[in-house]
Amino acid sequence: MMQEEFNEIFVKYHEIITLGVYGTSIALMLIGLYAVLMKKNLVKIVIGLSIIDAGIHLLFVGIGYIRGGTAPIFSPGYENAANRMVDPVPQALVLTAIVIGFAVTSVALSLIIRLYKHHNTAKIDQIKSLKW
């Protein structure tokens, strides 16, 4: 029963949900961009990069969604559901992109640790032995 109620709500407010997903993802990207450009702390900059990535991932999943769609898995009772399934490709892409984002973030954080050890600060405007 729970599932049907959910579906009803989804169908009813479909437009708003779609707009919400798109709006949220764009807002996340802008917040991340703000953090990358304006924040002085290295850790906050890396968090900003992660937030940009999160926004793009959300947008990816959002475009794959179709109204009242089911999970893209062929299971008993859903043999002929191919045209009602949400698009599986963006979900696969997002999984890959999340893993890549994880790798990039971990490398970034390890570099920050090393920078902090050498400079004793994590402020980007105090670390400038190389010219930009």
Partner: protein, 429 residues
């Protein structure tokens, strides 16, 4: 065993996972195995290029999923040429880094070999893949390994250069991901051949947006003008063999990615003019920045950026002769600039401080290395008997065919600047 394009990817990946285990048997193995893999890459290139010569192109389907749904690897004469170049260069760089062990202390050489090998694998992957998202994945492999290699020496500036590179690279990858997303919403496929077929259905405005996002993304790897802030720092802080690999391999892959996106996916009016203008600005600014550098590797890095600008110009001219000239220049630059970085780092290593003035009179101590460096410098500025002269001549004739007088003048003027700063170093040796 049948040799197919997938060997370019799986053999280095397998080796990368195996090296930490195998090096338990003998320490030296962790240094030798990357060399064996690089040599095997040359064998693959040799076999595949012969096949390409008879068949025309090779397209390999991975894991049994047909092309529009699965990922395929494509070897055309163009990409095959670049992959062969990268394979040979990778092997040469490995030979150099094998003798470079005195500088890198033995405890870390294990990870060094793995990272260098994976960076080259990523660059090969960018060139041979036929799937646009797979291209993104390979670009990230290159980015992560390149950042780790940049900050390989555990000193202060290495970490800073690495972080700078990672910040710009992370932004670039976000842009490419966004571009792929937009592209997917418009054409509904990720296969590059299918995308170029369906591209005409996409509205002009969205097409331009996608193109701009892609150019920002790939321009960073290809060292295009406003996006190349990472390059001089990364080149100067990275270990010597890695600088050679950046100039010879990573940048080539970036330029190829950019050119492939523009040539195969888009036919917007003005895309080629854009390439010419971007290349021109990149070239002029980089060459003039190179003049007042005091660090030799930084100077070589700026020179490398300038040469990539010239390659972009040649692709932008767009005629058959110009594309040939661009390929020829990429070939020359890959070999000559790697030579310059290799000999240059030996000179730097022996001069104690990293400035050009400290090289004064080093030719008496290291005559052969100095002569090789001088030959490299002559080749890159384009003195007549060397290959650099012919590649520049081809570009100039291609520009002359299209009557681009301003372009010819700019290239010649920049060549004079090049001569000034290279001869300053050579006369100092």
């Amino acid at each position: 065993m049948v040799i197919t394009p997938i060997h370019y990817i799986i053999v280095p990946l397998l080796a990368a996972f195996a090296i930490p285990l195998i090096s338990k048997i003998h320490k030296e193995l962790s240094r030798i195995i990357p060399g064996i893999v690089m040599f095997y890459n040359i064998v693959i290139s040799f076999v595949l290029m012969q096949e390409v010569n008879t068949v025309g192109y090779i397209s390999e389907i991975i894991a049994g999923w047909e092309a529009p749904w699965g990922i395929n690897l494509i070897i055309t004469p163009f990409s095959g040429f670049l992959v062969s170049l990268i394979s040979v260069l990778g092997f040469l760089i490995w030979l150099y880094q094998y003798k470079f062990k005195k500088v890198i202390d033995v405890g870390e050489i294990k990870s060094y070999g793995i990272l260098q090998m994976m960076m080259i694998t990523g660059a090969i992957g960018i060139i041979i893949t036929g799937d646009i998202f797979n291209l993104f994945v390979f670009m990230e492999i290159v980015a992560v390994t390149a950042v780790s290699l940049t900050s390989f020496y555990r000193n202060r500036d290495g970490a800073e250069a690495g972080f700078k590179y990672l910040l710009i690279g992370g932004f670039a990858s976000a842009m490419i991901l966004l571009a792929i997303l937009l592209l997917y919403t418009q054409v509904g496929t990720l296969n590059m051949a299918e995308i170029s077929e369906r591209m005409h259905m996409v509205p002009q405005g969205i097409k331009a947006t996608i193109l701009v996002l892609f150019i920002i993304g790939f321009g960073i790897e290809a060292e295009m003008f406003p996006l190349n802030g990472w390059a001089p720092d990364a080149y100067s802080q990275a270990p010597g063999p890695t600088s050679a690999a950046f100039a010879g391999i990573v940048v080539k892959a970036g330029v190829y990615g950019l050119v492939r996106i523009i040539f195969t996916l888009f036919d917007i009016e003005g895309a080629f003019d854009f390439l010419i203008i971007a290349g021109l600005v990149t070239m002029i600014i980089a060459e003039f920045s190179a003049v007042h550098q005091t660090n030799l590797k930084r100077m070589l890095a700026y020179s490398s950026i300038g040469q990539m600008g010239l390659v972009l110009i040649a692709f932008g001219i767009g005629t058959k002769a110009a594309v040939f000239a661009a390929l020829f220049l990429m070939f020359n630059h890959a070999i000559v600039k790697s030579l310059l970085f290799m000999t240059g780092s030996i000179l730097m290593y022996n001069s104690k401080s990293k400035t050009i003035s400290s090289l004064n009179g080093i030719a008496k101590k290291l005559p052969y290395v100095s002569i090789l460096f001088a030959i490299g410098a002559f080749a890159i500025v384009g003195l007549p008997p060397f290959s650099g002269f012919w590649s520049k001549l081809y570009i100039l004739t291609a520009a002359a065919d299209k009557e681009m007088i301003f372009l010819i003048l700019a290239i010649l003027a920049v060549s004079i600047v090049e001569i000034v700063y290279y001869f300053r170093v050579v006369s100092n040796l």
